[in-house]
Symmetry: C2
Subunit: 336 residues, 2 copies
């Protein structure tokens, strides 16, 4: 391994000078600096991030925390898109990323300890459960954090506009003439609450009644559970004409359930999804859904976090809402 010591010997200067030359310090002459840079390149020198991190107290490494509780966070398209964009933006700004988990090998630690252990400069948190004490500890700690789809005090956050997104969907469906809207929701996270509240409020504004029977619980990203909820809705004496699914994947469960009952989409039943994953747009019929700007959320999260890391003095907690867009497919019939 080539170190600054090797370079210093080759150039006949001290290690301090090498370090300074390589980092563009002002008190090294042009010629010396040039000579050092040339030798460094010739020797194939690579800085050692570990040594640098130890001395500087900055690792240029940011943690990414996907609460693993569901066991497969990363595989969901929404999360993997966020991961992808966080990664891209971080790398652009010179940071690597590391996953933060509970328990590493035989040492058991919580998220905060793990992040400290690895000297992460900051952490991006995406979780289904922000009430988890381990998550709250991390968010409340001195480590800079940015949360996705949830706001803590004194923490920046990136929010998808669940309220406006759901409102747009309801208005769209209502404009098509529907007045019997059923809503299948996922686990009762804060996101779910926002969407449900927005659904109710918009319905109220539009004068659309929402019978209690029309609100059904299910589990996110689980076609089976939304299939069951769909079945329950179909068993009602007064069926809805349009079903809101908790997400695009869940729609697939509903789809096969509708098929079993011989109901065609959208002729016999209209449906809308949520998320706008690429898949939803290649399905036939193309799903009417609301696309969250997952990539932009990831990008903004990384940008905000790194800004906070690099300028802690001028930093103030910030909430950024990333707008999405309604994708009009062909799963809502016009019964105007």
């Amino acid at each position: 391994m080539v170190t600054i010591t090797d370079i210093s010997k080759a150039c006949g200067v001290s290690r301090a000078t090498v370090s300074k030359a390589l980092n563009g310090a002002p008190d090294v002459s042009q010629e010396t600096a040039a000579r050092i840079r040339k030798t460094a390149a010739a020797l194939g020198y690579l800085p050692n991030a570990t040594a640098r991190a130890l001395k500087m107290g900055r690792s240029y490494n940011i943690g990414v925390l996907f609460s693993d509780e569901t066991g497969g966070g990363i595989s969901h398209e929404y999360f993997s898109q966020i991961l992808e964009s966080v990664k891209a933006e971080s790398e652009r700004l010179g940071y690597d990323i590391t996953f933060i988990s509970k328990d590493l090998g035989r040492m058991s630690m919580d998220y905060y300890e793990h992040a400290k252990y690895r000297s992460c400069d900051g952490v991006v948190i995406a979780s289904a459960d922000f009430q988890d004490p381990a998550i709250m500890r991390l968010a409340a700690s001195e480590i800079p954090t940015v949360t996705l789809d949830y706001s803590f005090d004194n923490c920046s956050s990136i929010l998808s506009d669940n309220v406006r997104g759901m409102e747009a969907l309801v208005r769209f469906v209502r404009a098509k003439g529907h007045r019997k809207l059923a809503f299948i929701h996922g686990e009762m996270t804060s996101v779910t609450q926002k969407r449900l509240a927005s659904f109710r409020r918009t319905c109220a504004e539009l004068g659309v009644p929402v019978p209690a029977d029309y609100i059904r619980p299910a589990v996110y990203h689980d076609p089976r559970s939304s299939g069951l909820a769909t079945r329950a809705l179909l068993a009602l004496p007064d069926r809805p004409t349009c079903i809101f699914f908790p997400d695009d994947l869940s729609f697939l469960g509903g789809m096969s359930e509708l098929e079993k009952h011989g109901l065609a989409i959208p002729k016999d039943m209209s449906v809308v999804g949520y998320d706008g994953i690429p898949l939803s747009q290649v399905l036939r019929p193309r799903l009417t859904t609301y696309r969250q700007g997952a990539e932009r959320m990831g990008t903004e999260a990384a940008r905000l976090l790194i800004e906070q890391i690099e300028r802690p003095d001028t930093w103030l907690p910030q909430q950024i809402t990333v707008e999405g867009e309604l994708l009009e497919g062909s799963t809502v019939s016009d019964i105007g």
Copy 2:
């Protein structure tokens, strides 16, 4: 930050003793060790991975390299499943994972340099293009590596059994009575070559002719491109009765193309996919496809890599083939 120095002062022993006690060295008395452990816990001591890595030359950090060329490796279900399982197994064994990319901030480096810069103990490589000189350099370097779905000399690798997988699909389809099989393939990687070769060989063994027209190029995971390939196949004077798609997602493109032509699956056209992603099994009709053991591949990759890291002496390059299974959906008609 609590360091071993703090503990040593609190306990009235040297830092060396603290370090040894915490690492279970034999030359520390029971009582002293117990006292040190207790104070460490009381003070909330956390080892500093950075300092440890610097001194030991071991970071307990493994790199994961998804060649970013396609721009969105992670979002593909196959990759994200591998990532997920690599992550899980690594963490179980006490290793964190970091992404390895080209170019970090304004320093430009190749994969090898990046891995070195971060002192990764080893790297798991998944790439579409193993001919990339940057990948070859990393694989040939002194850094332990495990490749997925490709074998370098002197490198362990995890292979999905493309040969047997494709063979199983062909035999299944043939057993249903089909004799006109068209094959849409992805970019010509080594994986593609294996699948195509296996397709041809199995067809030959079964006495099924394969006209050149029936082999069509497309792009992996791109419904649009497989849609075009499908259209080309449908334009042939002598249409195939079954189409092999490069992967499950690509099937979706074919599906809508078939729909446009008013062809029902499987009545008018049979299809099979490849990958066996969860989605394929909730679609209607359920796709007949071959599931690669992505989770097991990731798990084995991490296991093998860490074994190589921890026992470099007894290590020999190893190829592990992970078998998948045929998922029988309802997209192949019985025309026997």
